[in-house]
């Protein structure tokens, strides 16, 4: 018998009012928090893979509570590493390092963490709200964007290099081009051609973006500390600001949170985009639309708010496709589907029809876990922010251990340790000579997607894809955005030479 959506929502909530469900959610929250604070790579897929054989023997709601609790909090708490150590968090939280770490170094770690958790919590709720609203109308949304439209969106994303390059447009372009070139390493999916593989099996699948990001940002931060601060008597960075300041920052920038959350939801819904672009797209959007983009990269709290809200909202978008259409958007959601199947639910239209109360239970759990995760984040942040006062002699080895463990845990391949060191050294020199590393990461992240969408567009439509109305509209928007950004930058240059820092150019982090 089918029930109304309102009844399903009420039933879904009532089924959560059990002690064991609450306990399971709290266990999930604890696991998610640990995963977020632990080195990169100990990600949700591994947690789900370990937990799955156990939880599928439980009652469905209890098992769902644990899984959703863990994944929801893991995203919210992913900002610890970037803000406190300058090490990029897991995918989806890498751009946070650009402004989070300079804030942490200025002693504003608590403020940055406060902003991150508040933005993450709000993003999570917006994503959840979207999930609840999307139940009747998800499918048309997903089939709306074809390869040509997605290519233009990626092109638009690449135009952010204009922002990311700051006062060094040529160096920015070189860095982005190098990123695009790196994206070509490995077996090309469309033609099967081996590019830059040199008969090495390690290179067949290309080099992991996670490892390159970890190396480019993590190693220079650690080297910087090791080379400039060790042996010098440490002057503790005075802790400024409070968590509440971060909360106020986020509430002041509520419109940015909403916009970036929808970027996150969109990335979550569209198949094939993946979590690696979400933070960069949101960050670029925030910098591009800001009246003072020069502050980005120097510890601007908006550079924390934008990626964190988008990353947490993405989970809601992921669940739209997972629950309503039965399409997993990544390994974690694929495993969630495995669990649902084991409990006898068939995610997709059938589940919307037959088990809407379970979908609403997930919606409620996602929202509640988001709130709990935010509170847990606040509680831990007060303690963890004190890490800024830890002596460098302790901090540097800890950072290197985190970086190496993080790199190894991505593929469990010892060669990754050599790669992380090599790219770390490259990152150090890029920083020293003013080549913006984020532009390189953007090229790397978008390169693969752009190539794929362009190939698919031409292969399916020839060049007639350029005449598609949605493509024309998006191209005009992308061009307008690029020109306005460039004009803004040129205007800024005329006004004051000192204002040419720009997002992610030579900043406190790039010095």
């Amino acid at each position: 018998m089918e029930i109304s959506l309102f009844d399903a929502a009420a039933k879904g909530f009532l089924s959560l009012l059990q002690l064991k469900v609450f306990l399971a959610m709290m266990i999930g929250v604890s696991i998610g928090t640990f995963t977020a604070v632990a080195p990169q790579g100990l990600g949700m897929p591994l947690v789900y893979a370990i937990a799955l054989p156990i939880v599928i023997k439980w009652e469905p709601i209890t098992g769902i509570a644990l899984l959703i609790g863990a994944s929801s909090v893991s995203a919210i708490c992913a900002a610890y590493l970037p803000i406190l150590f300058g090490i990029p968090g897991g995918s989806g939280s890498q751009a946070t390092v650009l402004d989070g770490y300079p804030m942490g170094k200025r002693g504003e770690g608590r403020r940055a963490l406060g902003a991150s958790f508040m933005a993450g919590g709000m993003g999570c709720l917006i994503g959840t709200f979207t999930l609840a609203l999307a139940i009747p109308a998800a499918r048309p949304l997903i089939y709306l964007m074809g390869s040509p439209e997605l290519f233009v969106v990626m092109l638009w994303g690449l135009s952010m290099v204009a922002v990311l390059a700051g006062r060094r447009p040529i160096k920015g372009l070189i860095a982005a081009a190098f990123g695009l070139l790196l994206a070509t390493v490995g077996q090309q999916a469309q033609s099967g051609v081996m590019r830059f593989v040199f008969d090495q099996p390690y290179l067949l699948d290309g080099i992991s973006i996670s490892i390159i990001a970890l190396a480019l940002f993590g190693i220079p931060s650690a080297l910087d500390l090791a080379l400039t601060k060790l042996g010098v008597e440490q002057q503790p960075v005075p802790l400024k600001g409070s968590l509440f300041d971060g909360v106020k920052d986020t509430l002041r920038n509520w419109w940015l949170v909403v916009r970036c959350s929808f970027v996150g939801v969109w990335v979550g819904i569209v198949p094939g985009l993946g979590s690696q672009v979400v933070d960069w797209l949101a960050y670029g959007h925030a910098a591009q639309t800001s009246k003072s983009p020069k502050n980005f990269g120097q510890g601007d709290v908006r550079g924390v708010i934008a990626p964190e809200s988008a990353n947490d909202a993405k989970d809601g978008g992921d669940l739209v496709t997972t629950l309503l259409l039965g399409f997993p958007q990544g390994v974690t959601t694929a495993l969630f589907i495995v669990a649902l199947l084991a409990w006898g639910y068939l995610p997709g239209p059938e589940m919307v029809k037959k088990n809407p109360e379970i979908i609403y239970s997930v919606v409620w759990l996602q929202g509640i876990s988001g709130i709990v995760g935010t509170l847990v984040g606040f509680f831990l942040a007060a303690q963890l922010a004190k890490l800024a006062e830890v002596r460098y002699t302790f901090m540097v080895p800890i950072m290197f251990i985190f970086i190496l463990m993080g790199a190894f845990s991505v593929n469990r391949d010892p060669v990754d340790l050599l790669v992380v060191i090599a790219f770390g050294i490259l990152g150090y020199f890029m920083r020293r000579f003013g080549y913006p590393r984020p532009a390189m990461i953007l090229g790397l992240v978008l390169g693969d997607l752009m190539e794929k969408y362009l190939y698919r567009s031409v292969a399916s439509y020839g060049f007639s894809w350029l005449a598609r109305p949605a493509v024309i509209v998006l191209l005009i928007l992308a061009a307008a955005s690029f020109i306005l950004t460039l004009r803004g930058r040129l205007k800024g240059r005329q006004e004051t030479p000192a204002s040419l820092g720009g997002a992610m150019a030579r900043t406190a982090d790039e010095s």
């Binding site: 593989v197 099996p201 199947l341 698919r456």
Partner: protein, 345 residues
């Protein structure tokens, strides 16, 4: 006298060896190398197995899983061939493609598939359905054959779905079929609905589970099926013509059979070459018993979402023996796997 003493010593050695073999695994740890990332189907198959496999190995050793994804299973297979110690304490399940990659002598293959010790595989049955979207107007085989430039989608050049699509196009004699790759499985479905693609092959189980409306609402025209192993009918789609019935030459039949042989091995569990026979036998027997364990079958269905279709070690070795076709078929198969234009039958 010497003969009797020698026989007695040999008997003693045999008994001692058997006894040692039986208790060898007690207190030991077996490492299972999975040639995939955590969470994939292969990982789920491995997780379902390890828990029950332990019970069926005398001594009940601990089994831990390590992940070694990359290069279509070549990384894990190379590791097993070159690095892993042949002491019966390292098993692996590279993704199934590592066998055919070796037959085709693809780059990055540093192993000999004839030298691995095979223990069995849980997934030796597959059914691929070739279908086109209704709006493309390719409702029957004549229209399909008459159409030019049919756009067939797949994940990547060399991917199983790509090869199956090429086999269908080749066997059906499609005119100037265009293969568009770079999609995930889910994206392929979306691209069909949007009209970005005209056709694709898909696993029957995936088609039914993920996009039931494609079949139930008649959104797709189903043209044919590829059964692996041959003659193993799908309960729901047994009415569809089998791909071999489209073949008009021995070469075409040969290349289809080569694909079938590579597919029926599933994703086998392997041991490094040189693993002592008695330990390999213990593990083979344990895998066989696990496959027959009803509790494992239930767990497999739960975790993988598919029915267990076990293949024994002997069947795998036989299939690998059949994977040594003549050079003409290998060259033709390479054309099926590669990006170039398809030859005609």
């Amino acid at each position: 006298m010497i003969t009797i003493v020698s026989a007695a010593i040999l008997l003693l050695i045999f008994v001692a060896e058997a006894a040692i073999g039986q208790s060898f695994y007690e207190g030991k740890t077996i490492t299972m190398i999975a040639g995939t990332e955590p969470g994939g189907t292969l990982d789920m198959r491995t997780r379902a197995l390890t828990h029950f496999l332990k019970k069926h190995i005398p001594g009940e050793p601990t089994i831990i899983t390590e992940y070694m994804p990359g290069a279509g299973g070549r990384k894990a297979a190379n590791f097993m061939y070159r690095v892993a110690r042949p002491d019966g304490l390292t098993m692996a399940t590279p993704v199934s493609g590592f066998l055919i990659l070796a037959v085709l002598k693809e780059p990055g293959v540093d192993y000999d598939i004839g030298k691995f010790i095979y223990l069995g595989a849980p997934d030796g049955v597959a059914h691929y359905i070739f279908h086109s979207r209704k709006e493309a107007g390719l409702s029957d085989l004549d229209k399909l054959r008459a159409a030019s430039g049919v756009r067939i989608g797949a994940q990547a050049v060399g991917h199983t779905i790509y090869v199956v699509g090429r086999l269908f196009a080749y066997a059906l004699g499609l005119k100037d079929a265009r293969f568009v790759t770079g999609y995930s499985g889910v994206e392929l479905d979306g691209a069909l609905v949007r009209g970005e693609l005209d056709a694709r092959p898909n696993l029957a189980e995936t088609l039914v589970r993920r996009t039931p409306e494609f079949v139930e609402k008649g959104l797709m025209d189903l043209h044919g099926i590829l059964e692996a192993p041959a003659g193993k009918k799908h309960p729901r789609f047994s009415y569809l013509p089998e791909i071999a019935s489209f073949a008009r030459s021995e070469r075409a039949r040969g290349v289809i059979e080569m694909f079938r042989a590579s597919r029926v091995t599933g994703g086998p569990y392997i041991l490094p070459p040189g693993t002592p026979k008695e330990r390999a036998d213990i593990l083979k027997e344990a895998v066989r018993k696990t496959f027959n364990d009803p509790a494992y079958q239930t767990e497999y269905k739960k975790l993988v979402g598919d029915d267990l279709a076990p293949v024994t070690a002997d069947e795998i070795e036989k299939a690998i023996g059949a994977l040594r076709p003549d050079s003409e078929i290998i060259e033709l198969y390479k054309k099926m796997v590669g990006p170039g234009p398809l030859p005609s039958q």
